[in-house]
């Protein structure tokens, strides 16, 4: 899952990025001015945008309006020091999905991010169940047929993304765009490596065929019997 943080207080932006990038967390891009932030929001498939309102060059209201005008449905969490009710109402009415005032608790922000992203993939439960597979997005615990499976951070992120879109074919490009930010190094064969290691860990004897490869298209996560 990939998040864009548009926040002009450089240190706050960095702190947000650091917290959200925790192992098993998110890919995070940071922009510290409105113009740059709007460009990034319009041109990358983010799963969530954390948006400050008072920004240099282009303010948050304008970015929100432009995003919605372009038909981009990405969830937007407005993060601002403006706590007047009219500001909150305006923020939500102009296309924001959530509103958090500064100062805030990092853990609360992270939980809101998680809930917003879950909603975007039409998931109400924080536990993603795909056939014999259960992924607890709160504790990052993965269980297959009642047996816990230990995954590395990147493996977890990949599995969570595939599970969010279970039943759909996910291309390599999708995976790269949603799991890596501009700061990470991307190699497409790394994904293949993670896929095969996931298959090994989730389905050691190869009977369940949870992750299938669709030649020329990508991967799909399915429960057995599908």
């Amino acid at each position: 899952m990939r998040i864009l943080v548009v926040e002009d207080e450089v240190r706050l932006a960095q702190n947000l990025a650091a917290f959200l990038r925790k192992p098993g967390g998110y890919a995070v891009d940071v922009s510290t001015d409105g113009e740059d932030g709007r460009y990034m929001a319009l041109n990358n498939p983010y799963d969530l945008i954390i948006l400050d309102l008072m920004l240099p060059k282009v303010d948050g209201w304008t970015i929100l309006k432009d995003l919605r005008a372009e038909g981009i449905k990405t969830a937007v969490l407005v993060l601002t020091a403006r706590d007047a009710t009219e500001d909150i109402v305006r923020g939500l009415e102009e296309g924001g999905d959530d509103y958090l005032t500064k100062p805030f608790e990092m853990s609360e922000l992270a939980a809101r991010c998680k809930a917003l992203i879950r909603r975007c993939y039409d998931r109400a439960d924080s536990v993603l169940a795909v056939g014999p597979l259960e992924i607890n997005t709160a504790s990052h615990k993965v269980v297959v047929e009642g047996q816990p499976v230990s995954l590395r951070a990147m493996e977890y992120k990949l599995l969570e993304y595939l599970a969010m879109r279970s039943g759909h074919v996910v291309s390599q490009a999708d995976i790269t765009e949603h799991l890596y930010d501009f700061e990470s190094e991307k190699f497409s064969n790394v994904i293949e490596v993670y896929i095969s290691s996931l298959r090994r860990k989730l389905d050691p004897d190869g009977r369940k065929k949870l992750i299938q490869t669709i030649r020329g298209a990508g991967y799909v996560l399915r429960g057995t019997g599908q």
Partner: protein, 483 residues
């Protein structure tokens, strides 16, 4: 005491005036009618008296004067004939009493007994009018009221007297009845008028009630949006509604300003707080090296310092806003004070390899030394932050008539003219993002202006491309030189 309602305040004086007027009219009418009745009665009595005098003087009647008298009384009654037509029972009691010489001798008398009693008594008690004269009397006896005319004349050297009287009880009773009727009618009209005028007052005051209703609908929430409908208000109420509207507008403006100020203050306090909090939470979230922890603590301390500075400035402003928080004024050597301020910036200026050039005349003013120091420090600080690194800052002190002029110039970029006027607003920043990258709280110039106003002076800012920005302060030399 509870103030009287407007309705009564208008109705009572109006009612009283009307009542007095009615009373006067009734009294005048009474007086006029009274005089009229007496006058007519007197004339009638005199004409009767003349007839009686014929009987008394004419030798043709000498045989039996007393026998002719009743005929005279009965015949010559033009007034009473009319009355008899109307009301047969109420013919007036008439009497005549006449004599020559001494009272009681050869008196000729005729008429009703009660009237005669009154005439005899009057003849005894009253003084005879002189010859050829007549006098009219009002007599009140147990039998009623009588009007009597005494006519006196001498015939052949013998003093003659004729007293003619008639009862007036019925006449006055009728007059009183009439007047009571008038008074009663007036009273009813008066009461009706009072009730009506009260109602008119209430109707007339209805626009006041409506306006009050609209005013009552004004709350802090809809202030500035309520239409008081000044055009629908009667002309008499317009000044009042205008005043209230202007007052509400002023109030709205200051509430909006206050709201903006509070929102800005909250924003600017929350931001460093959010940064500090996030820094510490990120540091606590996972394990870090000693250097990383140290960095986090240092960063958080910086944020706290920023907040501390802002809180300080807010308190200074609040203090300056206090209406009676007058600073202690004393003689201040401005050149000395400006040198001190300059010295406190030495390190900072050296660090940016800039230059502070002072041109200070010897000027003393009456003022608060601490506040003035703060004012000049804010001005120099502003110049430092907005001027280019390594640029020169000029501080000039001059005397200008009865004012001291302090000018701080930097070589910074031009500020757009439309934004110059706003620079003294609290939290105003040329860039709308409110970033604190230049390190200012956004209150420096607002504080400067508040201090200048406290000293009865003026502050002005000018900015020009390639020349720089110049802040000029004018302060009166003596306290009260400018009100």
């Amino acid at each position: 005491m509870k103030p009287m309602s407007l309705k009564w305040r208008l109705t009572i004086p109006f009612g009283l005036a009307l009542a007095v007027l009615t009373a006067v009219v009734v009294a005048l009418a009474y007086d006029t009618f009274y005089e009229l009745i007496l006058d007519q009665t007197d004339r009638f009595l005199v004409s009767l008296g003349n007839s009686v005098s014929t009987i008394m003087i004419d030798p043709a009647f000498a045989e039996n004067r007393a026998a002719h008298m009743p005929a005279v009384l009965a015949e010559d009654l033009p007034l009473d004939k009319r009355r008899q037509d109307d009301d047969a029972d109420e013919s007036p009691e008439l009497a005549a009493y006449a004599w020559f010489g001494k009272l009681g001798k050869d008196a000729v008398q005729a008429g009703s007994e009660s009237c005669l009693r009154a005439l005899r008594e009057l003849a005894r008690e009253e003084v005879r009018p002189s010859d050829g004269q007549k006098r009219a009397f009002d007599a009140t006896t147990p039998d009623g009221r009588f009007r009597v005319v005494w006519m006196a004349a001498s015939v052949d050297g013998r003093p003659g007297n004729i007293l003619i009287g008639r009862s007036t009880t019925a006449l006055f009773e009728e007059l009183h009845e009439l007047l009571w009727g008038v008074a009663l009618t007036s009273g009813i009209i008066l009461a009706a008028v009072i009730v009506l005028s009260g109602a008119l007052v209430v109707i007339g005051l209805r626009p006041v009630g409506k306006t009050a209703g609209r005013l009552a609908g004004v709350t802090t929430g809809n202030l500035g949006t309520v239409d008081l409908q000044v055009d629908t208000v009667p002309a008499e109420l317009k000044p009042f509604v205008h005043t209230v509207r202007d007052m509400l507008d002023g109030l709205n403006e200051s509430i909006q300003k206050q709201k903006t100020f509070v929102a800005d203050a909250a924003h600017d306090l929350r931001t460093p707080l959010a940064v500090a909090k996030s820094t510490l939470q990120v540091a606590l979230a996972t394990d870090h090296s000693k250097t990383e922890y140290r960095q986090a603590l240092e960063d958080a301390t910086d944020d706290l310092r920023r907040m501390e500075h802002l809180v300080g400035e807010l308190l200074t402003l609040a203090h300056l806003d206090e209406i009676d928080g007058k600073p202690h004024f004393q003689d201040v050597d401005l050149a000395d004070l400006l040198r001190d301020v300059g010295a406190s910036f030495e390190k900072q200026i050296a660090a940016s390899s800039g230059e502070l050039i002072c041109d200070l005349a010897d000027v003393h003013i009456q003022g608060g030394a601490e506040q003035l120091k703060r004012l000049f420090r804010n001005m120099v600080d502003n110049a430092l932050r907005h001027g280019p690194a390594g640029g020169a800052i000029h501080v000039i002190l001059r005397r200008k008539e009865s004012m001291a002029e302090v000018c701080v110039k930097d070589q910074g970029g031009a500020i757009p003219p439309e934004k110059l006027a706003n620079l003294f607003d609290r939290f105003y920043r040329v860039d709308a993002s409110r970033t604190q990258s230049t390190g200012g709280s956004g209150l420096g110039l607002a504080i400067a202006r508040a201090i200048v106003l406290r000293h009865g002076g003026e502050i002005d800012i000018q900015s020009e491309q390639n020349v720089g920005t110049r802040v000029t302060v004018l302060l009166p030399l003596a306290r009260g030189a400018i009100s």
